[in-house]
């Protein structure tokens, strides 16, 4: 096949989601299956914890967030094939930058707005002043 080696030949960098061409595909399917099993386990655990009183009440949000982060990690590794290997350095660095921005936006917003809420005059007094 012309252009095949140019597209799939040996190279020391990998695209995100990359898989090895050729072979029986058995190994790739195994990786997807393992990822699916882990993801299903984590999802079931999330839904179960949310509806049960096994975990100490105030600890439930923390447990749910931890499970979500774990599941996102499973998806990244087993479905998107983002690994810590040297051929994945560019992909991982881009991901790290994305995560940094997401954390800044979400944590920053929640933090600032919580302080503003705390410092704001109660609504009924504010209404009186405007009259």
């Amino acid at each position: 096949m012309s252009g095949h080696d140019e597209e799939w030949g040996e190279h020391d960098e990998a695209a995100p989601g990359d898989e090895h061409a050729g072979g029986s595909g058995f190994k790739e399917i195994q990786i997807y299956l393992l990822g699916l099993l882990l993801a299903v386990g984590l999802t079931v655990a999330s839904f179960w914890i949310a509806g049960s009183d096994l975990v100490w009440g105030p600890g439930i949000p923390a447990a749910l967030l931890a499970l979500a982060v774990a599941q996102i990690g499973v998806h990244l590794v087993f479905f998107l094939h983002i690994t810590s290997g040297p051929e994945n350095t560019n992909n991982t660095l881009a991901l790290a930058f994305g995560v940094l921005i997401v954390l800044l936006v979400v944590v920053g917003s929640v933090w600032i707005m919580a302080h503003l809420n705390h410092n704001m005059m109660p609504m009924d007094q504010l209404m009186k002043m405007q009259k």
């Binding site: 595909g25 999802t43 996102i72 881009a94």
Partner: protein
């Protein structure tokens, strides 16, 4: 008018003959240190396209983080209207989650089949992926419809505005992904497994898996935490 070589001329000569020239091997290792344009040659187009699409996906996730931040800030601003606890049906959310997770899996199986150049298998798994995506979108539209009929539309409270914006934006992504999926199925059927088609398929796979990642954050923060609060 001749003032000798301009700076851009100098730069061009430097790039052609200087240390960044193709085939130049400063350390005698037999391979270039610099990637991209060294003696090793540029990375395969598949890697470059995949990386570019990865950057787009990350920027899309950054956009979603804005919606997530708005929701997190406004989650308790119900203005006397219904709360998440009264509105969310976790059983339906569970089915939606199962659909999207299964479709992520079948999408991966379709890509493996495409790498094997198996036309019918590829089409089958992509069809299943699309079907699961369709079930997801239908369930979500039903949820929106029921909420709006109950008077809990996006105009009711800041909480509901943020909810409809965030969940609706994700649903819109899944819908667009479904259209892209149908296009890819047709292209694979008509044009076969050409390199450019395989690159598009790689990008589609990344997109679909990324949607599932966003859904994980979404069902945890919006539905599970909302129904418990």
């Amino acid at each position: 008018m001749s003032h000798g070589p301009t700076p851009s001329d100098v730069a061009a000569v430097y790039l052609q003959q200087g240390p960044y020239a193709q085939g130049h091997d400063p350390h005698g290792h037999g391979h270039a240190e610099a990637r991209g344009h060294g003696a090793g040659g540029p990375a395969p187009k598949r890697v470059i396209v995949g990386y570019g699409f990865w950057i787009f996906l990350l920027s899309d996730i950054v956009m979603f983080s804005g919606f997530f931040a708005a929701y997190a800030v406004l989650a308790h601003a119900t203005a006397g209207g219904p709360t998440g606890r009264e509105l969310f049906d976790l059983k339906r959310v569970g089915i939606e989650t199962a659909c999207l997770l299964a479709s992520s899996f079948t999408c991966g199986l379709g890509y493996v089949a495409a790498l094997q150049r198996k036309q019918l298998q590829t089409q089958f798994w992509m069809f299943v992926t699309g079907l699961l995506g369709l079930v997801f979108v239908i369930l979500e539209v039903l949820e929106f419809y029921e909420m709006i009929v109950k008077g809990a539309g996006p105009g009711r409270s800041a909480f509901l505005s943020a909810f409809f914006a965030l969940v609706g934006c994700h649903g819109l992504h899944v819908t667009i992904g479904g259209l892209w999926l149908a296009t890819m199925m047709a292209q694979i059927w008509v044009k076969g497994f050409k390199p450019q088609i395989m690159r598009r398929l790689l990008c589609f796979n990344l997109f679909w898996h990324a949607l599932d990642i966003i859904w994980v954050a979404l069902f945890t923060i919006v539905y599970l935490l909302g129904a418990g609060a």
